[in-house]
Subunit: 209 residues, 2 copies
């Protein structure tokens, strides 16, 4: 088995779906976490392939970009979709999430960089909240039609993991109201009750993001 | 062979890498183009899976999201990377492009929605141009180390097609200066000189985007 090292900040964020896949598959990996206080990130930034983390090292071969990492592991461990059309739908859902979160991030960026309150409010109402509502309408619609309760086909894919993990983060930050999305909450319960995932979710570092 | 229909606006944009893959593989497909003037888009929008195009129909089964479509066809036709690690790198490059273009799009959106000139200039200098420069530094760096001249491994992948096509669009809109990126220009020449691609590029509808 290859030696895996997953390097990311000490949060769930973009690396957590990959961590969950390792725990689900029972495959050992080094869960390397960089704290902001250590200053290690500034030292290693230029040595990463794209100047960003997460980075997955597989026997020393480095893979950047969270969706690429998650898809790579999902394929290795059997959670990428059973047929090409399922794989394409899992990919499409994750890409749709990426579109949503890049719009949504404009709000977090405006808050963090101390933009005036009215500018933050404008970005929230014109960009972030419409993007969020449109995204969850799509996910609700997919689950409405799903016979298995999963987002793609009749079994777990990395798309389910990416979505429910991010729902958890949005909820922790008051951007997701569980009572408005019962099907998404049911999906999360379904995924978090898989024994290997349940064990990890109950014991993992509890971070805000 | 399945019946393929690719639906998009009458531009190259997000659908062109998929069109190129069809021409490269010599696989027939319906190149369905929606014009803004026809009003057809407003009529069909709600019937698409995610309210957006491109959508690829494979014997009536619909796949949304351009990267998912392009990856699906690349896998079918043998241009997704030869081994899992190459596939992950092709994916990572396309995701990195997606990150760049979502930052860059803030500029196009500000221009189109008639924001004040100083706001447009601020977005250009603080967001769009830094995102562009960081992205092309990554691509230049990859090509600098490439022995084959391709972005991934020793043969063509959909990552090459996505990047060179978008370079063409950026250049047409004065956002890419060929003389600053000789390796990227060489990659484009390499790809555009593949006979099946050359024929398509020479005869395809010439659109601004």
């Amino acid at each position: 088995m290859p030696t895996y090292k997953l390097t990311y900040f000490d949060v769930r964020g973009y690396a957590e779906p990959a961590r969950i896949l390792f725990h689900l598959a029972g495959v050992p990996f080094e869960d390397k976490r960089i704290t902001h206080e250590s200053g290690d990130w500034e030292k290693m930034k230029d040595k990463t392939p794209f100047g960003k983390i997460p980075v997955l090292s597989v026997d020393g071969f480095e893979i950047p970009q969270s969706a690429a990492i998650t898809r790579y592991l999902a394929k290795k461990f059997g959670y990428a979709g059973k047929i090409p059309e399922e794989q394409a739908w899992a990919d499409a859902i994750v890409d749709q999430f990426k579109d949503f979160i890049s719009s949504f991030s404009q709000l977090l960026m405006a808050q963090r960089t101390g933009k005036p309150a009215e500018e933050v409010a404008r970005i929230a109402s014109e960009v972030a909240m419409p993007a969020r509502d449109a995204f969850f309408k799509i996910i609700d619609g997919i689950l409405e039609k799903s016979k298995s309760g999963f987002l793609v086909g009749d079994s777990l894919t990395f798309a389910d993991i990416v979505i429910v993990e991010n729902v958890t983060t949005l909820e922790k930050n008051q951007f997701f109201t569980a009572s408005e999305h019962p099907k998404i909450v049911a999906l999360r319960e379904k995924i978090y009750s898989i024994p290997a995932i349940k064990k990890w979710v109950e014991t993992r570092p509890d971070t805000q993001f």
